[in-house]
Symmetry: C2
Subunit: 318 residues, 2 copies
Amino acid sequence: MIGVRAQGGAPVLDRSLPDPRPSSGQVLVRVRLAGICGTDRAVLQGYGGFSGVLGHEFTGEVIEAPGDAGWVGTRVVGRITLACGTCDPCRRGRPGHCENRRVLGIRGVDGVFAERVSIPAANLVAVPPSVPDEAAVFAEPLAAAMRICEQVAFDRTDRILVIGAGTLGQLSARVLAALGCRPVVAARHLGQQRRLEAAGISWIGEGEAAVRSYDRVVEATGSPGGFAEALRRVRPEGVVVLNSSVNEPVPVDLSALVVDEITVVGSRCGPMTAAVEWLARGKIDPTDLIEARFPLTEAPAAFERAAAPGAMKVLLTC
Amino acid sequence: MIGVRAQGGAPVLDRSLPDPRPSSGQVLVRVRLAGICGTDRAVLQGYGGFSGVLGHEFTGEVIEAPGDAGWVGTRVVGRITLACGTCDPCRRGRPGHCENRRVLGIRGVDGVFAERVSIPAANLVAVPPSVPDEAAVFAEPLAAAMRICEQVAFDRTDRILVIGAGTLGQLSARVLAALGCRPVVAARHLGQQRRLEAAGISWIGEGEAAVRSYDRVVEATGSPGGFAEALRRVRPEGVVVLNSSVNEPVPVDLSALVVDEITVVGSRCGPMTAAVEWLARGKIDPTDLIEARFPLTEAPAAFERAAAPGAMKVLLTC
């Protein structure tokens, strides 16, 4: 089958990939739509040393379900972490932090930039008919944005700054707004600013936020400088939510963390079922965040487009 | 009067310091006992560019109180932060994070390694007769240890590691034990280990703690490597409490924070009134943590002793 592999730092189209075979407890999904994420680009640059089929954001249709035929024909999205079920975090109810985990398109298992993918039935979340593919494909990043609010208490009166106005920053701001908060987003690019305006969310230019002023700062830049910028803007005793995985160690002024008693919370994957529910109830409409759509066979061009300054979500039609 | 100034990286005895004069709202305290802290040594090494009289841990007796004669003769300890009362954090009830703050012996105002010191009456906490000077002088570091439990929830079943068995590490472990928790302390030196045993607290050798295993890690090493060590030991979704102020930026693997969803909480000054109350009720007896006692005139030798590997609290009799 056709798919996109990480090879020598570039996304390479491979027309002779072996067809995935669902192992026990797995289903085979025909991928309909997949999204390119900053993490995919980080993987290409060496993050985690992964070299299989890329991609983890997707929606598709179950076409084989050896263990549970009831799934066949169901439109689904999927949790990206494949847990072992037996390690300490798994036994303690935290399969997302499984010590032996594989992660779709990121660690140890082929991802979704392909015609078909095998994943555990336990990872599936059914997509209701009211949610179009173009919205469902955002379930994974929307869940990541919702995760922030599971980890940190946000009050409606909090001064909240979101740094970075790419897909995750935009979704984080929309989730916070849906919860009654009034975030401000530091947005560099015109297209990002216009989308925020259309969604009724305040923005300011990059670097214009007041220093030492925000109760909560959500770092969603995807770049190594994002954390230092967040530390500049947060108030003493404030909270920084850190989303960007960065390949190399970043110099951090730890005395600022101690003296100002800052809390830093690392955040990763979120609640997919809740994300699909929000999409179904129309609490969030992410479809204006689509920058462009490419057929899977044009994945290299899609990656180039996704890397352009200010680019929003680029989708692959599989 | 006699006092100890920071000068050229060393503590210098000065016999001709001007006598401090209490300004409005201040009292004059005759210092009886003062403690040398890791922060004093960091100040000598350039932290904050401070060059006045050193020292912030003390107990003493009020000898002049122009605005409120009722204080005269009272034995006291004192909060170390002098707040402006008008900035945003002050108005929001967080004077410890005053934007214009001065800090005894650390920032903008002379400290307590002297015969006498002027401080605001608002900073004083009276010491009950049942608390000897040798215990009262620990009120400031004890408050810092108690601060940790104001910021982070510790459950009795939590696996808790304290890294560093100096004064702050020892006090942190004792506070946690007093709250019903069962911390383990990573202790390098025999004297530290023996003190832990005497206090009924478990210890393990340096570097022997299991990796990725602890629900809570309290970093109290005072050294640049402490944070990375804490990150090695904490479990995914765990919490690291960071206490060490380090002068230079430290390289941090931010992706570990994000992927493992670690929370990092910077921690500084704590509740002095509660600390004195704990001392008065005998919940903590810190006096076995005294390493040695020197007269103020032998401060340089006292600093040398405090810098020795494994040294505990060194006191100055003023």
